[in-house]
């Protein structure tokens, strides 16, 4: 293993509670006291039972969820941003340049084909239209998405096919930070192996990878460190 590079993600005392106004203001604490960091070139896996807040931590870093307490420092080439206090514009810039995120499920767009979805993500890297399509095609081919599906909108694809399109989209732009939410959940062994190779390639390129891997084998293979999220459970 290459020795890890500079710190890319640092969570410090992060807490999140949902307040459910439709249920009489019930408070639903998700995580508290979250502290860890991820360096360039390493892969850190979040582990723990379902519902413990693993996905929530990724969403707190990507900015889908607002941070109630603590700091979420993300280091981009241009400097360090605290996601907890970043403006929407700073957050959008961070997503365009620094943060990659593979969500659990593909959000399809009406009328847009698989290749175009992936190519649009590649274009965020600043590559020209044709190069973006070439990069997208290369990823779809590596992930065994059948060529006949490339120009179809993925809404009607199987779960596994959608997930592979989603991974291709998440990897199309080469961001210094990669957040992965169960990228292999619906995949067969061959496609899992491909995803593992793609993640390892990203690590070698210096990306900081933070992921949730349901499959213990995969986790052991790609992760340099494992963080048990149970320790961040409120009241733990």
């Amino acid at each position: 293993m290459v020795s890890p590079g500079p710190e890319r993600i640092l969570l410090d005392g992060v807490a999140k509670t949902f307040v459910m106004h439709l249920r009489g203001g019930a408070r639903l604490p998700v995580v508290c006291g979250v502290c860890f960091s991820v360096r360039a070139g390493e892969c850190v896996a979040l582990s723990g039972p379902s519902g413990i807040g693993k996905s929530s931590i990724l969403k707190l870093i990507y900015g889908n969820y607002r941070v109630d307490a603590g700091r979420v420092l993300v280091t981009a080439e241009t400097g360090t941003v605290d996601v907890a206090s970043a403006s929407p514009r700073q957050m959008l810039a961070l997503r365009r340049t620094t943060l990659g995120y593979v969500s659990q499920f593909l959000r399809t767009i009406p009328r847009v084909g698989a290749l175009d979805i992936v190519a649009a993500a590649a274009r965020e890297d600043g590559v020209a239209h044709q190069d973006a399509r070439a990069r997208a095609g290369d990823l779809l081919a590596k992930l065994n998405v059948a060529h006949r599906l490339w120009h179809l909108p993925p809404a009607t694809f199987s779960g596994g096919e959608q997930q592979r399109v989603n991974i291709a989209r998440g990897l199309a732009a080469r961001r210094p930070i990669l957040l992965l939410d169960e990228p292999t959940a619906a995949l067969d062994d061959m496609n899992r192996a491909t995803v593992v190779e793609l993640i390892e390639a990203r690590k070698r390129e210096g990306a900081a990878v933070l992921g949730i891997f349901h499959d213990a084998d995969i986790r052991e293979r790609v992760a340099d460190r494992i963080i048990d999220v149970t320790q961040f459970a409120p009241g733990a």
Partner: protein
């Protein structure tokens, strides 16, 4: 300078907002339609304003596009010459010129944005003439090109929009707005009242224009799925005020206000 993002922003090219509204209020007699609304719109940014009917969304859009004068407040706009001006200090004629050239306004009801008795080509050509185009052949060719881009068949250029379907009228309205390459487009429920397949085609078209042209847009919609698909940021309006705002996915995935939680929980899942 790096590339465009999928929804179109150049990477922080100019940190000054394109449009800045400050403390906008509008009263109709005792009724408050809009109360103390402040917002920024940056170049290439798509802002969705969501809320129920009667929340003040359309009034806000009319104020921002200066079609309605506010009871209070002001709007600064950075014009093409780079100078930021107070819109309500411009003359009526200057504001109209802005609306016909640098801005677009897409109405929910295309009959408000089109001249129904004038041919499709004439509707698009009119905007070109407003910015000084005079040569008939050029105007017609440009109109033709824009009709093609919005998927209206060549042989319909001389037909009047009252012979068009609802979806075609809406696409024509968009072509008419886009032909002058506006920097800012206001849209009032652009997909309201259309069949879902027609709506999907229209959304696809709007997404394309936003990303290819780096348009800024303010889109009023009650449809949160439309807001998620098109916008970078969401503002939630209720009773004339902005009660919550943030990144589009943040407002939808982690709504904070009781009213926003109610809106989000009311989305139909498919």
């Amino acid at each position: 300078m790096k590339a465009l993002h999928a929804k179109g922003q150049p990477l922080v090219s100019d940190d000054r907002p394109l449009l800045r509204a400050m403390g906008l209020s509008k009263h109709f007699g005792a009724r408050v339609a809009c109360q103390d609304v402040s917002l920024d719109v940056h170049e290439g940014e798509v802002v969705a304003v969501v809320g129920e009917s009667g929340s003040g969304k359309s009034t806000l859009l009319a104020l921002l596009s200066t079609q309605l004068l506010p009871s209070n407040g002001s709007i600064d706009y950075r014009m093409r010459d780079g100078v930021t001006r107070d819109l309500f200090r411009l003359s009526e004629a200057q504001r109209r010129y802005l609306l016909r050239t640098d801005w677009g306004f897409v109405h929910q009801d295309p009959r408000l944005g089109l001249r129904m008795g004038v041919s499709a080509g004439g509707n698009v050509g009119e905007r070109l003439m407003a910015v000084g185009w005079r040569h008939y052949g050029n105007i017609r060719a440009e109109a033709q090109a824009w009709l093609e881009r919005v998927e209206i068949a060549n042989d319909r250029i001389d037909d009047r929009p009252d012979t068009f379907s609802g979806g075609m009228r809406q696409r024509l309205q968009i072509a008419k707005n886009m032909v002058t390459h506006p920097r800012l487009v206001f849209m009032d429920e652009p997909t309201g009242g259309l069949d879902v397949s027609v709506q999907a085609r229209l959304l696809d078209l709007i997404r394309g224009f936003v990303s290819d042209q780096g348009l800024a847009a303010v889109i009023v919609t009650h449809d949160l799925a439309v807001a998620r698909l098109l916008s970078d940021r969401i503002l939630v309006m209720r009773q004339g005020r902005i009660i919550e705002s943030g990144l589009a996915d943040q407002v939808l995935d982690d709504p904070r206000e009781p009213y926003t939680q109610l809106l989000v929980s009311s989305i139909l899942q498919t």
